[in-house]
């Protein structure tokens, strides 16, 4: 190969790399604007997490999680863990969770606290969907609750809202979703399962159900929903990816 040719090749490669890098920077800005960049885009596994989130967000804009027939509801669902053992939880459970409260605050017009009875006054929604754990197991159940978007509309979300953080009665348990999932019709604050009140071992009295994402986004014992424009201080915990559509 002649010297001349390799020099020309080198210049062409350099130009292509520069164009590629600046193209990538522009693409990143546009992607962020359209909500295609997850909060955990940085770090070693950021590229993979970002590709997955962007691809699935583009694909799933109007999609609905698969629903099943009543005959497919599991006769042996898996609770995965026991309810909180604290005295305060036991007291609430003994009182039929009449004193359980769900606070909705953050970037909302009217911060409000709901009891389970308050939530049951919203038009209910039911779904027979599959809960899939990241470990590999799964079960099909019927969940009943109020669509999260109805609760959010009730308190009035402010235009800067980007995420909904949900906190659990279990200390340290929390998770969050973007507005695309928060406003999705199948995202529920559930209070019923398989025709009865949601059993405590399945997260009762209130569990967030996000059927297009894996089990760990479906936080049990919900006590607070916080609408926010940033996950600073409430970001993904541990090494589990924030977006769990796969």
């Amino acid at each position: 190969m002649s010297n001349n040719l390799s020099r020309r090749k080198l210049i062409a490669t350099g130009l292509a790399a520069t164009a590629g890098a600046s193209g990538l920077a522009v693409a990143a800005r546009i992607a962020d604007q359209y909500g295609l960049v997850p909060p955990d885009y940085g770090g070693l596994y950021g590229p993979g997490a970002t590709l997955t989130y962007a691809a699935q967000r583009l694909l799933t804009r109007h999609s609905m999680a698969r629903e099943f027939s009543r005959s497919q509801i599991s006769t042996s669902p898996r609770a995965n863990g026991a309810p909180p053992k604290s005295e305060s939880f036991k007291r609430l459970e003994a009182g039929g969770f009449a004193d359980w409260r769900l606070a909705v605050d953050g970037l909302v017009a009217r911060p409000t606290t709901f009891s389970v009875a308050d939530l049951k006054k919203f038009p209910p929604s039911s779904q027979i969907t599959q809960l899939i754990c990241e470990e590999g197991w799964s079960y099909i159940g019927e969940w009943t609750g109020v669509p999260l978007f109805q609760v959010l509309n009730n308190v009035g979300i402010l235009p800067q809202a980007r995420y909904v953080v949900y906190l659990s009665f279990q200390p340290g348990w929390r998770n969050s979703i973007d507005m695309a999932d928060a406003l999705h019709p199948q995202t529920l604050v559930t209070y019923g399962m398989n025709g009865t009140d949601l059993p405590a071992r399945f997260g009762g009295p209130l569990r967030v159900r996000v059927p297009r994402q894996l089990g760990y986004k479906n936080v049990k014992y919900a006590t607070r929903l916080m609408v926010t424009d940033s996950l600073q201080g409430f970001g993904p915990k541990g090494q589990y990816s924030w977006y769990a559509g796969i």
């Binding site: 070693l44 596994y45 590229p47 993979g48 997490a49 590709l51 997955t52 699935q56 694909l59 799933t60 999609s63 609905m64 999680a65 698969r66 099943f68 497919q72 599991s74 042996s76 669902p77 898996r78 995965n80 599959q130 899939i132 754990c133 990241e134 470990e135 590999g136 197991w137 799964s138 079960y139 099909i140 059927p211 297009r212 994402q213 894996l214 541990g238 090494q239 589990y240 990816s241 559509g245 796969i246």
Partner: protein, 244 residues
């Protein structure tokens, strides 16, 4: 790029000379795929350890009977394995690396497939020629004997069929069954999972295709060793091989 055309002026030289064997695209995509396969295998095993039970149909968990269990310890106390200990949970980074490596494998695979079609690499080097196809020939290669010198320049019939199956059946099936386990992906393409009979069926097939790919890699590495490790590695790294 010429396959193994022997240039008389080169073979006449006293010092060992080389002939072209693999194109740059084949070599680069081969090694990137190899690296992502290792990452996918290691992280896949880590994820599997958290639930070494398999099911058929839509659902399955420790409360339901399994299709079969792997006789290995688990990283979850909730799975009864018969072992007296629980392995540490490695699913966080394993899942993140699994999907990142999957993206690399998919993107490089698409690039390789486009290249192979455009340059007629599949037709020229992998599609078995009609004349090569005889059961005697296939059976003789299946005895995994040391390959003859003729095979330094091109692939034999068993290699061709195997590579085509790996490239066009096993890898696509691996990616497909992986996507069929994603609740977001199946919300858009429900048939991608129902065609297998359900979520757990897709997971079980994902496992069996892994077993086939691992078997392929083992035989592949053994054959490289039998054929002359240095020579074959040199061909796949530099693109050239010494003339005998």
């Amino acid at each position: 790029m010429a396959d193994s055309a022997l240039d008389p002026s080169l073979t006449a030289a006293a010092a060992p000379v080389s002939s072209p064997r693999h194109t740059a695209v084949v070599r680069v995509t081969h090694w990137i795929t190899a690296l992502s396969f290792i990452a996918l295998l290691v992280t896949g095993i880590e994820i599997l350890i958290s639930h070494p039970r398999f099911y058929w149909g839509e659902e399955g968990n420790v409360e339901t009977p399994s299709l079969f269990d792997l006789p290995i310890p688990s990283s979850r106390a909730s799975v009864v394995t018969g072992y007296g200990y629980v392995l540490p949970d490695q699913n966080g980074w394993s899942r993140a690396l699994h999907f990142q490596a999957a993206w690399v494998a998919v993107l490089i695979g698409l690039f390789y497939a486009a290249y192979g079609l455009k340059t007629r690499h599949f037709r020229k080097n992998l599609l078995p020629a009609g004349a090569d196809f005889s059961w005697g020939e296939i059976l003789s290669h299946l005895r995994f004997r040391r390959p003859s010198e003729v095979e330094n320049g091109s692939y034999n019939i068993v290699q061709r069929i195997t590579y085509l199956i790996v490239i066009f059946v096993l890898f696509p099936l691996m990616i497909w069954t992986g996507l069929a386990m994603s609740p977001a992906f199946t919300s858009v393409f429900p048939a991608s999972v129902t065609v297998f009979g359900g979520h757990q069926s897709a997971r079980t097939i994902h496992f069996f295709v892994t077993v086939l790919l691992v078997l392929f890699v083992l035989v592949h590495v053994v054959m490289v060793y039998l054929a002359g490790f240095r020579r074959r590695m040199r061909a796949m790294i530099t693109g050239h091989q010494e003339q005998a």
